[in-house]
Each structure stands twice: as C-alpha cells, then as structure tokens.
Assembly symmetry: C2
Homo-oligomer: 202 residues x 2
Amino acid sequence: MEKVNLEELAKAVLGRLFIELEASGRHVHVTKEQAIALFGHPLTPKRALSQPGQYLANERLMVRGPKGEFENVAVLGPERREAQIEVSLTDARALGIDAPIRPSGDTSGSPGVHLIGKCGSVQVMQGVICAQRHIHMAPEDAKKMGVKDKQIVLLQVFTKRPVIFEDVLVRVSEDFETYVHLDYDEANACGFESGDLGRILQ
Amino acid sequence: MEKVNLEELAKAVLGRLFIELEASGRHVHVTKEQAIALFGHPLTPKRALSQPGQYLANERLMVRGPKGEFENVAVLGPERREAQIEVSLTDARALGIDAPIRPSGDTSGSPGVHLIGKCGSVQVMQGVICAQRHIHMAPEDAKKMGVKDKQIVLLQVFTKRPVIFEDVLVRVSEDFETYVHLDYDEANACGFESGDLGRILQ
C-alpha cells in the first residue's frame, strides 16, 4: 500500500475548498503617456504583486478630488491603455467623488480626478471606480471549484468578524493566480488579517 | 367582508421581516466627571438619536492615539459610568490603537486614549473598542422575529453591495427602538444608504 502523505493531502483538500484573501488599498493605473507626464519617465517596478506580471511601481502620486486629497498613493504597473483609479467608498467620500462600484476596466462614464506626480499633473476625465469585490482565478482552480469567468458567487470569509459577501465577481484567466481581492472597507468590515481564507458558497 | 387596507398590511408584513440599518460613526461616551474636565460642564443635548433617551451632545472633542488623531469627534449623552470610545478598525489603525471587537459596555482590558476638549484633557486608561455589529430590538419585535437577548444571528442586508453579516449580536430591551447598528467600515463595505433594510436569516 502506498503511504499517504497527510500534509500533501491536507494541502490538496484545502486548495479545493479555500481561497486566500488579499486587501487592495487605493491605487492608480496610468497610461505610458500619463506616467511620462507625471514622473518624467515610464513606471519602474519596485516589487511584484500576487498577479503575474503586475507590480507596485517606485513612483507614487497625489490624488486630488473636489473635497480632499490623498498623498503618496500607490501606482501599479505595467501601464494600461486607460487610467483607472481604484478607491474604497470611504476614500471616495473623503475625495468628494461619487465612485461607482464596477468591475476593473469598466470605467466608462465614471468620474475623473486630478493626479499629481513629482514632474507634473494630469486631469483624468474618467476612471475613478470602487472595484467590485472579485476573485482572480487560475483556470485549473476555477475548474476544481466549479465556477466560470464572470460568474457571480457568494463568498464566506473566515475572519475575525466573519461575513458572507454577495455579488462577488469571478474572473478566470491564464494570467491569474487565485486570490480574493477585497478593498479596505471590506477587509476592515470582516476583520481581515494576512493569510485569512474564504470559501465559495454557490 | 371587512375591507383590507393594503398599505397597513404591507407595513405589518415588512415590519416582521425587515429591520432598518443605521451607520454609527466614531463617537465617545464620557462620565460626568470627564465631561466637566473636558468641557467645564455636563453634556448638553443637541439632538435626539434613534435609541430613546440617547442624544448627540453639542460638545465635541479630539481623540488622540499614539499614531494619529481625530478632531471634532461626536460625544453621545447621557453620561455613563465609564468612558467608551467606539471606533472602526480603519479609525483604530489611523490612531495606532489595536481596538478589540466587543459588545458595547465590555471595555475591560481594552486600550486607552487621550481625549481633548475645549477646557481640558483626560487620559482614559481603557475604553477604546470596535463595537461588535448589533441589533437593538424592542421586546415586541424580538418576539415577532423569534430572537432573544444576546443571541448571535446572521443578518442579510439589502444594499448596493449586498452582504450577509455573521456574528451579529441581538440586544433586546424595553429601552430600545429596533435598528441594526453597523460601523462605517461595515456600512461602506455593503454600500449602505439611508433607509436600507436588513433581514435576520437564522
């Protein structure tokens, strides 16, 4: 009889049931042209993020709304074809901006904002959203968990203040590592701590 | 046959199923002695709150932690036997304080904070908590909904970003009007807007 490696078995079972949570703070995606206007050069990577190819840039900027501003906001690379400014609803209130809850990339008709870098500033005409809570999934994990791209699921999180999030968007791509992304309102509402896990309920 | 008043009927049915949500911002309860030290006199009421006898005071104060401070923080009356400073986890992080999640009144061993009023300041040795999400219930509503004082329930909220909150504490008292109390992290995590409703699931 083959000897069972309990640790491997436990890992495999857990990997079919649970997904690690990550909290995303406010951050900005810019175009290459905007990066040059703001910083004098394209973005430079500081460290890799959990999603393959994505990085936190060395460059940081100020985001200024009609009511308030945030200094030292993270910029994520690589550059995109359109700017996107992802904030929590708490942040949006502080900026004085009515940010719609949208999937990433769906910025059509969203409010604009003023971005200020060390070399210049850019008035972005649209792009401020509150990212809809979502799960990045590698195709093999989506298959294991029986979910498809763009499916909306319930997600139970096993945190200090447990919550079941409704309306959680599943995004499946070869480019993804499997992680739940919450914003800081959601992370604090459930008492998230690094390493906490969630489970898809339906 | 008696004519059915549909509006009254709808109201009665809704009242058995749904509870109105309220978001509580950061606020402070002080003792009478602390009020006098901070403001030179006991608290004076500015406006009544949803819970009978409770009021927002005219007096406001600064709350200062090791890392940050909040100005112009609401003080709720009447005075209590012990100070209690209710903050969200976002607020706690900004103050640099590790606030435990506790039912109101359970401040034993919780961190302290510095309170600064227009006439003086007070170092509170304990009392900073993040209030456990809870439902204030009038006894007749608790009976209708089949729940008891101190019961822990699941609460589904019908908001812009729906969520099912676990670990929701039911408090039943003759002194209560029936309302769900969420903090601002929770309110923003679910996209709360004034008038939104919730429903006890179990």
